[in-house]
Symmetry: C2
Subunit: 207 residues, 2 copies
């Protein structure tokens, strides 16, 4: 069976990463590409479904999983845990599906250490002005809050060089095409193709 | 200046490699993708132009170049030399153009040793039957000659696993699209993008 590829996608907020991943999933069938569903201890919000938006678990359960090394990466954000289950990811990958993980540079580093065959993509905004405009949102936040968001965006972007691919999200459809191009090219790599065309290769090389 | 990428393309005869490269070059502008022009000591044939089909040089000149380590790879085929000039390749790459090299596994090995950043693509035929049919050509050759060609094709194919990418040339337009996908994805890799978007990145990371 051909293994899927695990993709990490990181970006500062305001770069359009989530819209890109959403759009990508809409054009790819589920047996082909999926987005990873995280575990979390934060409370369920109205409309959220167990196993669809998150796997909602108790703090005790999450900490048991940490102790069992069940997470490829996890973080504690304002008192709530968020993590990526190794078993969930490996199960989906084993069916040949490519999995997308939407995480920050810290999660990316943890995953690269545990699964070196992961491919990583960093998405940049087209300009500082556009990033600033997007971080301002509806203009209801103070300058200090905006400055804090910008500082966080710059901190995230300072890790761009740790990624395999770099996409500049200037024109949305071009950036989406770039994302698809990367997935298609990765499927043409020797290791994927070798398994996919195993029978053909055996026949071609037979005397 | 962004450096171009050097691509090696190898395949057994009958896999359709030359048609693929020809078709690729027709759809890409010259400032974007070019095919490498080899040096050779074989006589000029009618219609061939110096510097377009080959750089035609004397045996003494070719051997002087060998001694000066001027070739990324060279071979002697039935008494004639064929080689790829390092200077020619590096000159074109330095202008940001991707260069395609149509060579066999032996040349590919020599080039990988001298330029490890080279990307290599192996093209396979869709089936043994189709390969056999293509090697028979117009049916004017003896079974022994056909068997010899098949043995040579199998010997070439036995090196497929030394390449970065594998394309199965079943449907021509799909294989051509695969080739283009690889080139586009390689251009999205960090090192290429880092140079291309140098000014943007500097601005985004500035305080």
């Amino acid at each position: 069976m051909v293994q899927g590829t695990l993709y990490i996608v990181s970006a500062p907020s305001g770069a359009g990463k989530s819209s890109l991943i959403q759009a990508l999933l809409k054009t790819q069938p589920l047996y082909d590409t999926q987005v990873s569903v995280s575990h979390t201890t934060r409370p369920v919000r109205p409309g959220e479904k167990q196993g669809e938006h998150y796997y909602f678990v108790s703090k005790a359960e999450f900490e048991r999983m940490i102790n069992e090394d069940a997470f490829l990466e996890y973080a504690n954000v304002f008192g709530n845990y968020y993590g990526t289950s190794r078993e969930m990811i490996e199960q989906v990958l084993s069916t040949g599906v490519d999995v997308f993980l939407d995480i920050d540079w810290q999660g990316a580093q943890q995953i690269r250490n545990k699964m070196p065959q992961t491919r990583s993509i960093f998405v940049l905004p087209p300009s500082k002005e556009e990033l600033d405009r997007r971080l301002r949102g509806r203009g209801q936040d103070s300058d200090e809050i905006i400055a804090g968001r910008m500082a966080q965006a710059v901190a995230e972007m300072s890790h761009y060089a740790e990624y395999d691919y770099l996409i500049v999200n200037d024109e949305f459809n071009t950036a989406l095409m770039d994302l698809k191009t990367i997935i298609r090219a990765e499927r043409l790599r020797l290791n994927r193709q070798k398994l996919r065309h195993d029978a053909l290769i055996t026949k071609l090389l037979a005397d």
